[in-house]
């Protein structure tokens, strides 16, 4: 059975008709064409598919699209504004916090929410904050560095 739902994605209301079993990750990627959200494991472990649901990070591969009807979602496509990269995105570039880039959208969403909640995290808090996202390329060292750098940039630009 098909359901008509409305998702407010990156500030724009999008109406879409989906079967009940449609994963939010598939809905974003294939129905709405927002392919920046990636799918790495489809069982909620790798964190590649992380998006912000009403500001909080969720696994879009473990969420049915119909279950978030009416919600506000932010995906990687919505992190920059007016063509300018967000502080978190700039910090990742500056610190070489990405290589193949596949896990990156999930990290960016996770870190954006993390710094919103805790603008000046300690080393331990950064490690804890990103410990639900897998990266196979970077060894995390530069991602950790990027999180601290993003905190600095956010503070400077606040």
């Amino acid at each position: 059975m098909e359901h008509e739902i409305t998702l407010v994605v990156n500030g724009t209301a999008r109406r879409v008709t989906v079967p009940a079993r449609r994963l939010l990750s598939d809905c974003l990627r294939h129905d709405l064409g927002l392919t920046g959200t990636h799918v790495g494991c489809e069982h909620g472990v790798c964190g590649c598919c992380t998006v912000l649901l009403d500001g909080r990070p969720v696994r879009s591969c473990l969420t049915f699209a119909v279950s978030v009807d009416g919600a506000e979602l932010t995906t990687v496509e919505g992190l920059s504004s007016g063509g300018r990269l967000s502080p978190v995105q700039r910090a990742f570039a500056e610190c070489h916090g990405l290589q193949c880039g596949f896990c990156t959208p999930g990290f960016l969403c996770t870190v954006t929410a993390l710094l919103e909640e805790n603008p000046a995290p300690t080393e331990e808090e950064v490690l804890e904050g990103i410990s639900g996202n897998l990266c196979r390329c970077t060894g995390y060292q530069n991602i950790v560095k990027a999180v601290h750098r993003a905190a600095e940039l956010l503070a400077e630009e606040a």
């Binding site: 079967p19 079993r21 449609r22 990627r29 294939h30 064409g33 927002l34 392919t35 920046g36 959200t37 990636h38 799918v39 790495g40 494991c41 489809e42 069982h43 472990v45 790798c46 590649c48 995906t75 990687v76 496509e77 992190l79 920059s80 990269l85 995105q89 990742f92 570039a93 500056e94 070489h96 990405l98 290589q99 193949c100 880039g101 596949f102 896990c103 990156t104 959208p105 960016l108 950064v126 490690l127 804890e128 990103i130 410990s131 639900g132 996202n133 897998l134 990266c135 196979r136 390329c137 970077t138 060894g139 995390y140 060292q141 530069n142 991602i143 950790v144």
Partner: protein, 785 residues
């Protein structure tokens, strides 16, 4: 000079798109394509009695179902054996879809094409395959007993057997040298399976327009996929193009080709006249792509009072899984790279590559080196322990000296060429790593140990790569090379090389990799070879373009080409910057035109007065356009090297293992971009930590991979990976114009050896099996104490 970018930590040019969700990975393409899915074998070994697709036919959205019997003869043949070797007497490869027998869980049996992946999987679930289960062969020991066979026509399950011997200076073989050595040791080592496990799995998307076939694949070699697909589908090569889009990690597994799906998806697209896409899911990746690492090694070493190895005799059992599509490269690399930075008296190595009813084994980052290094470094530690010497002292006693290069190890390397080390400085590297970790001041106590591991890595293997460089009339520089990228930052590193060689701002340079429309001749990205082979090819192509630009500019400026240089995209007379011409204008002049499309182009038309009426517009021996193509084909491999050291703590109660510090000294010749090289090392070490402490493929006796998910196959998170401290030594390679050696695999190679060394130091008993979990360490304690 603003354009001297070689060696600078230039920020990556691929990042803006990857940070904003604008990357184009395989599954991001083909939004309207049909989806393929596969019925895969649930049995490790079984005969297929019957396949009933009937129940699936009513699934809404179903388009087609194919079994092996539906494939035309050429498509249905066994997949190619990519790297034949005389010792691989019983090489076997899979059919694209199983024919009669399945030999591992996950082998594809039926292909389904449907409107979307949901419908395709619905259909897969309804297809009934009647299997007659056969007894599976699981594990090396069971395989070598040969009681059950993986392939009926491969006696003893042995696919390949190879003995390589290098006699000592006195002409004696290793076994004889060991017999008469003052001291001898014999032991067994075990390394378990792991896998590349990129976060993006494999995937294929094909479009057929009635004449031309375009295939996108998440591959490490688009040119080779192209040739394999053209051959399998009997298409003329010029009608097939293959593109590697953004690829979400490779680490070796994506160098294998053609995968069944790389043949089947294009074939179905042609047959149905529809776009078709297949995207691998995570469980499929675990059970149907490839693994590596699994080996058992039996070692005998003879040595003198200083710890110098007089003879080394190693027998390796290598688990090759069900098939050998990539030949025996992995055990060959283990056997040869085992020698590391050492001068060994006499060496004998023998391996048997055996079949098991498990996923096939092909290279994973390091490609057999981690096992070889584990063997040699365990040997060094054991010799030191036996003689009561410092472990670094024994290593130093065996090092090849800095003045002994080129150093011939007397063996044949994986490229079929002599194993001759080009350059290196191992004593200096040892000094550096000891200083970095604080080896001499380390305070040992129970539960706290220090370890070390050294390696030499053959990098930059041939046969060749090419580069094409074109300067267009807008002054932009377009660089292309055929090999592919999976996160190594090639668009940046190659742009640095081109900008430096041509004297142009890097902002004007763009780089395309892995697109056969742009460059058709290439080998692929593996063996830490891209920077070495493509990097040098691009530099050589730039030098051709530069020479041509200077010739043309010399005419326009009425100067001698040898008096010209290019700075910031301007060709000018040395010492007279006002006598100059932009490279963009040179590009215009390089291409005589009849028709002007803009003001700049008008300068090259027939009445502009820029061309002498006494000579043909395109001079003899010249070609139109400011572009050049060149190739770099190395005489043999370069040899990078490195030494890692770690401090490890083990919990006295829980046996939890914590890496407290991790130090790396690395020599990959000249660095193109130190930021990128560091990143490669960090990532390699993290994979090494995974392989040492967490990751393994757990097969039960039935051949089921029981941990085929990220819930149970434990890849390290940020919380498990130590901070890596790095130092670089730069010993340029004399073999190539840029003096570079390659860095992609380095980080992962010695990690298991280093961690074993440190745990052994902390615990006081031998660590001969990796990976090691806390519960295994706990059990070892109960047995050893």
């Amino acid at each position: 000079m603003t354009t001297r970018l070689f060696g600078e930590p230039v920020q990556r040019r691929e990042d803006p798109r990857l940070l904003t969700g604008q990357g184009r990975y395989l599954d991001d393409l083909g939004r309207d394509a049909l989806a393929a899915a596969f019925v895969r074998s649930p049995h490790a070994h079984a005969r297929i009695r019957d396949i009933d697709v009937g129940p699936a036919l009513d699934v809404e959205g179903l388009v087609a179902v194919y079994t092996w019997e539906d494939l035309p003869e050429r498509v249905g043949r066994p997949l190619p054996l990519l790297i034949p070797h005389p010792a691989l007497t019983h090489g076997r490869t899979a059919y694209p879809l199983a024919r009669d027998v399945v030999r591992h869980v996950g082998e594809p049996v039926v292909m389904v094409v449907a409107a979307d992946r949901y419908a395709a999987e619905d259909a897969c679930a309804l297809i009934e395959v009647d299997y007659e289960p056969l007894k599976p062969v699981v594990g090396l020991e069971e395989s070598v007993q040969g009681a059950q066979l993986v392939h009926e026509d491969v006696p003893g399950n042995v696919g390949a057997h190879l003995v390589q011997e290098v006699a000592g200076a006195d002409g004696r073989g290793a076994r004889e040298a060991i017999e008469t050595a003052p001291h001898t040791l014999a032991f067994r080592l075990d390394i378990e399976r792991s896998a590349s496990m990129p976060l993006e799995g494999r995937g294929v998307y094909a479009r057929w327009d009635g004449r031309d076939l375009r295939v996108y694949s998440s591959t490490q070699t688009s040119t080779s996929v192209r040739m394999a697909v053209a051959a399998a589908l009997e298409l003329p090569l010029p009608q097939v193009e293959v593109i590697a889009p953004d690829v979400g990690g490779g680490f070796g597994v994506k160098i294998v080709h053609p995968w069944p799906e790389e043949v089947l998806v294009p074939w179905a697209a042609m047959t149905l006249g529809r776009e078709i896409k297949w995207t691998e899911d995570r469980r499929e990746h675990f059970v149907s792509s490839a693994h590596e690492r699994g080996q058992v090694q039996y070692v005998r070493a003879g040595f003198d009072d200083d710890g110098r190895v007089l003879g080394l005799d190693v027998t390796i059992l290598h688990d090759h899984g069900a098939y050998t599509p990539y030949g025996i490269i992995v055990p060959i690399v283990t056997s040869t790279q085992l020698l590391g930075p050492y001068r060994i008296g006499a060496y004998r190595v023998e391996f048997s590559a055996v079949y098991t009813n498990t996923v096939q084994v092909t290279p994973y980052r390091g490609a057999g080196r981690p096992q070889g290094v584990f063997c040699m470094e365990r040997t060094m530690d054991k010799i030191a322990g036996y003689l009561g010497k410092d472990r670094t002292e024994v290593r130093a006693a065996n090092f090849i000296g800095p003045d002994e290069f080129p150093y011939d190890q007397g063996m044949t390397f994986q490229d079929g060429r002599p194993l001759i080390y080009d350059s290196g400085n191992y004593p200096e590297m040892l000094r550096m790593v000891k200083e970095l970790i604080g080896w001499d001041s380390f305070e040992r106590r129970p539960g706290r140990g220090i370890g070390i591991g050294c390696y030499v890595e053959g990098t930059g293997v041939g046969p060749y790569e090419g580069g094409h460089v074109q300067v267009t009339s807008d002054g932009r520089v377009h660089v292309s090379t055929g090999l592919t990228s999976q996160g190594q930052g090639h668009e940046t590193a190659f742009a640095q090389i081109a900008a430096t060689e041509l004297g142009v701002p890097i902002e004007r340079v763009s780089v395309v990799t892995g697109d056969t429309r742009r460059f058709g001749y290439a080998v692929g990205t593996f063996a830490s070879r891209a920077a070495v082979v493509s990097g040098n090819a691009i530099a050589l192509a730039c030098r051709k373009v530069r020479a041509k630009a200077l010739r043309i500019a010399a005419g326009a400026l009425e100067a001698d080409p040898s008096d010209l240089e290019i700075t910031d995209g301007m060709v000018h007379v040395v010492g007279a910057p006002s006598a100059s011409i932009p490279l963009s204008t040179v590009a215009v002049l390089a291409n005589p035109l009849r028709y002007a499309f803009d003001d700049e182009a008008a300068k090259a038309t027939q009445f502009s007065g820029t061309s002498s009426p006494d000579r043909p517009p395109v001079a003899e021996g010249e070609e139109p356009g400011l572009e050049g193509r060149d190739y770099y084909s190395p005489i043999r491999s370069t040899f990078a090297s490195g030494m890692h050291a770690a401090i490890v703590e083990t919990d006295p109660d829980t046996a939890e293992i914590t890496v407290v510090r991790y130090a790396v000294v690395h020599d990959c010749g000249r660095l193109v971009n130190p930021m990128i090289v560091e990143g490669q090392i960090h990532g390699g070490v993290a994979q090494g930590i995974g392989g040492a402490l967490y990751e393994r493929m757990v097969y039960d006796v039935h051949g089921q991979l029981v941990n085929a998910s990220f819930m149970d196959f434990l890849m390290p998170y940020a919380t498990e990976v130590p901070r890596v401290e790095t130092a670089h030594l730069e010993t340029p390679s004399p073999l190539n114009p840029l003096g570079i050696k390659g860095a992609g695999e380095a980080g992962v190679i010695p990690v298991s050896a280093v961690i074993a060394s440190a745990i052994e130091d902390a615990e006081g008993f031998p660590i001969d099996r990796m990976p090691i979990s806390p519960s295994e360490l706990f059990d070892l304690r109960s047995r050893m104490r």
